[in-house]
Amino acid sequence: MIVAEQKPLSEIKEIIAPYKKILILGCGTCVKTCFAGGEDEVAVLASALRLACKKDGKKIEIEELTIERQCEDEFIRESAPAVSRSEGVLSLACGAGVQALARRFARTPVLPGVNTTFIGVLEKQGVFTEECSGCGNCRLDIFGGICPVTRCAKKLLNGPCGGSQNGKCEINPETDCAWQLIIDRLKALGQMDNLRKYIPPKNWSTSLSGGPRKLVREDHMI
């Protein structure tokens, strides 16, 4: 999932300052799971902003809505009546959701309420960790299902740096050394031979280096 974090209230207050009627629009998928922008977070933020504005003597009307997904036009459509009633939309979706809204609603400013942070997993209740950098050429087959591109601080592809201590990364002792995890897992899988394969320098052309990427599926197009 995409992991995001709600912006500090002070920043959100600044972002919405020019508007008197806003819609806080949540997204019921990734950002809901990471407690940044689902229905509950929309309600809390709306309440916090109402209290803050009242305290500052500012008048603001806040409408609340959460749709299933903000990155798909089919779902975005449901928000059109609420968007048309507002001067600006504060989106609690990831950056893709904010842009999808902006694309659809040409005349309404769409403002980000969260910082989109990474592609990750829920490691345990309340803890989210980054797992994938979307490099565009996945080699998890060789690395035993653990991504060194993302989880090794030096993005090393041919074994550890030598600074790993007690299974922890030398860059941050709170973080597991990705290569320790890879080796442990390859051992368990009986695939230690994978380590003999030379991995050439990564070709980043499949990543962001060539500008925004596009995926076309002809078979799904009409």
Partner: protein
Amino acid sequence: MNKKFIPKITVFHCINAFTENTHSIFVGRNDFEVKFIKLPCSSMVKDIFLLRAFEAGADGVVVLVCPEGQCRYVEGNIRAKKRVAWVKNLLDDIGIDGGRLSLSNIAAGDTAAATQIIDNALKNLAELGQNPAA
């Protein structure tokens, strides 16, 4: 002349920590107004309920939970404690002071402790004054 400040306090309480028939210990006091919100377990104090109490005009909010280790649902009071801490920070960010919200552990039937908790909240509110967002 300023009218005397009579604080409004909303008390969220777990029905195991503070039973309904102990509400009467505050009857007849005219130094504050109180609203009770009963919860089956203190883990039900969601952040939005606490904020809405302030939106509804509360000057202070008190959350009463069972002593640690004695929650009937194992960890409800721990969850409540974490949420209250989170909302206290949020109240500071909002600018209405996290000190308006407090959580206390209390054993069922301990009316003396309940009175003490409310008196402490009142002392605190005498300094903080009225909820500036009410």
